[in-house]
Symmetry: C2
Subunit: 434 residues, 2 copies
């Protein structure tokens, strides 16, 4: 009998599972995603900082499973899952399943202050990245027109909240944008005076890495003139800037990279989640009491043998996607399924255009070598041959010239009038048809 | 004494004038544009049909005049020109000038029915192109979810109004998209059944060309399965489709390519314009009675010696930009200025991926050779070396694989619920902050 597997989410985990299951004859797959593309999320900050174009890091999901007749792709938003009746509910339909693979990922979290989102967008989707790019580039344009020196300073102050990989990568890239790429392009001010401030509540940057690597990354950020402030907690975000426990930073561009949480979907299912809404799973990635429902990738709270939860990394999602596909097939054939084991691929991050850190167990690299390793691995894993070639050319060109090719301000109302400027923060809210 | 030249518009005409004047010591230039980028408009339809990315055909204006200290770029929207007091008014400021070069271009025109725009977007800006791309790609997605066969047919019916170069190019590209690129990617219908209907009020396509070339282009369109309907006038456009004099075409995706008009700016100046608002100019491109104010490019109504107006073509704008820059310098030095003469560069258009037509006087080419000529000329003229290389690679790749690399649905609310679907048409309206 053909088994119907519904996969929610076309990210690393969901796509891997779908492609693996596509080879099986007695399995039919429906892959549901809100977007029509698979996104190479590790390079999303490059789109947000105008280094790459959206199509360099995104590929239509349909294209990635074309020629696999047992995989059906459906663009849609899942609002809830009815585990008891084995149905996935979309805004416009319901899809029944025999087996479910939930790989819906996470969103950025404002720690109970969702009202900050308009003034401090986060970076999870292509549209997020385009909105951040728009704001960063507009800030330089607005500063050129601004006659009030105080407001000009606020235009030229970029605050990034959270010093994980995304925050560190954005801070480095924006600082380089100001100091090199646009340095000669303005007449009323010197872009090199722009301030990039990276706020971190903890006591070091990139806390997933060992302390010595965190320290080297911090030094590298400071060499790039990023003003890193550790042990600094954000009290309030407004259209005027960021309020700290000990002061106020006037800034027109605040970006959020300070944590993630599961979509509302996960809490609505009436099952066990962790504090950020990630779904607690068994050692075979299934939901306790629901062997036919798996959760993988960032949305899963998978406990390692040592008791810690696996981090939200692409290699985890890829391996879990591969694992559940094999588990689904094995079960159907009545074979036993071994628990999932994560094979540690290490972690890496970059600061600017020539510094990277990488760590795998006790093996560590830093500096230019770390950056080249980062570059190599990211290009190798970019899905789709065309993208790899294009991205390599763009990077080689950008590296040689300090240029950033995608510096386009697109989207709504490019030039706000002065009275509208405060309203900038609300353009990211969903546009409802009248 | 330094002369202050204000140029409105960073298209082919305005940018050429700015770059030419940048060499002069006693001239100071302010270049104003609504966008931060120069757009290579002849390839805009490629973005609208997912063949190229925005950054392939757009370059930041500041980058194009970087290192020219006497050129200042200002992002802003010009609302009116006070010719008597020599001031350009922006939404947020006024800029005085000694000499004005108006190169603001034109918008598409709905022949007195601006209310059609929401249901039938036109193609003049990058944001227009992204909106069209979003609608075209969403139509295929919506058809996959649609269970009502009549509505599915409407989802798969693309109507393009106007068979000038833009309409013909879009029709050919959308037909190829359906028949080749996405042909294997849907399960609930066969994308090859999609209908592309090109409506033209006149009696032939591409009427700027000689009749034999129009005829060959028509044949080529029909080979691509484009349903071309000549002598067909649009009576009404709604969210449900297009009403004709003799029937109704149910369609969810109507695109407008049927004419242009000048922005409101031109009529507000109290000077002579033609029916579409283009400003009538003297033989030196200046406004009658205002030797210090020039109009160039699509916005100018420049009468050729034979009495016909010059067409809205890139070569006209480029030559006029060069001409007014030389005229401004010559006058300042007390030298005489000869009238502007357009050196005919010919005209060209393409249909799909292997057919082009080109005509210069009595010299004509068609077919694959015409297409290669078109390709060569467009790549040579693409401003910015990086873009040329990237575009060539993308085209070579797309040609070999029938792929279209930029098939991403970005922008507002990717998946409309059924009740919202009719509302799709309003998402292109400007978003105002609450």
């Amino acid at each position: 009998m053909t088994q119907h597997v519904v996969i929610v989410g076309g990210g690393f985990g969901g796509l891997t599972a779908a492609r693996r299951l596509a080879r099986e004859k007695d399995v039919r797959v429906t892959l549901i995603d809100r977007q029509n593309y698979h996104l190479f999320q590790p390079l999303l900050y490059q789109v947000a900082t105008a280094g790459l174009s959206p199509s360099d890091i995104a590929t239509p999901i349909r294209h990635l499973v074309a020629g696999r007749p047992n995989v059906e792709v459906r663009m849609g938003e899942v609002t809830s899952v009815d585990l008891a009746n084995k149905r996935v509910k979309l805004t416009d339909a319901e899809v029944p399943y025999d087996t479910l693979v939930l790989a819906a990922g996470v969103r950025h979290s404002y720690f109970g202050k969702p009202q900050w989102e308009g003034d401090a967008p986060g970076l999870k989707t292509l549209d997020d990245a385009l909105e951040i790019r728009r704001r960063v580039l507009l800030a330089f344009e607005n500063a050129e027109r601004e006659t009030d020196p105080e407001k000009q300073t606020a235009d030229l102050t970029f605050v990034i909240v959270g010093a994980g990989p995304t925050g560190v990568e954005m801070a480095g890239a924006i600082s380089e944008l100001a100091r090199y790429t646009v340095a000669d392009e303005f007449r009323k001010y010197n872009p090199r005076t722009a301030r990039v401030i990276l706020l971190e509540a903890g006591d070091r940057v990139l806390s997933a890495f060992d302390k010595d690597l965190s320290h080297k990354a911090l030094e590298s950020l400071r060499e790039l003139h990023v003003d890193v402030r550790l042990n600094t907690r954000v009290v309030e975000v407004t259209g005027e800037g960021v309020k700290l426990e000990n002061g106020f930073l006037a800034s027109r561009t605040v970006l959020w990279a300070a944590g993630v949480e599961a979509p509302a979907l996960s809490r609505s299912m009436g099952i066990e989640t962790d504090r950020s809404g990630r779904i607690t799973v068994n050692e075979d990635c299934s939901i306790p009491g629901h062997p036919e429902a798996f959760v993988i990738g960032d949305l899963a709270n998978f406990k390692s043998p040592d008791g810690s939860a696996l981090p939200g990394l692409a290699p985890v999602a890829l391996q879990q996607g591969e694992y559940v596909a094999r588990a689904i097939v094995a079960r159907q054939r009545g074979r036993e399924v071994k628990p999932f084991r994560y094979l540690d691929k290490g972690i890496m991050a970059t600061v600017g255009r020539a510094f990277g850190i990488a760590q795998k167990g006790r093996f560590k690299i830093t500096g230019m070598i770390g950056w080249l390793a980062w570059l190599f691995i990211h290009i190798v894993f970019l899905i789709g041959f065309r993208n790899r070639v294009l991205v390599m050319i763009q990077w080689a060109w950008a590296w040689a010239t300090f240029g950033r090719g995608a510096r386009l301000i697109t989207g709504t109302t490019p030039v706000p009038s002065p009275t509208e400027r405060r309203g900038l923060r609300s353009v990211n809210s969903p546009v409802k048809a009248a």
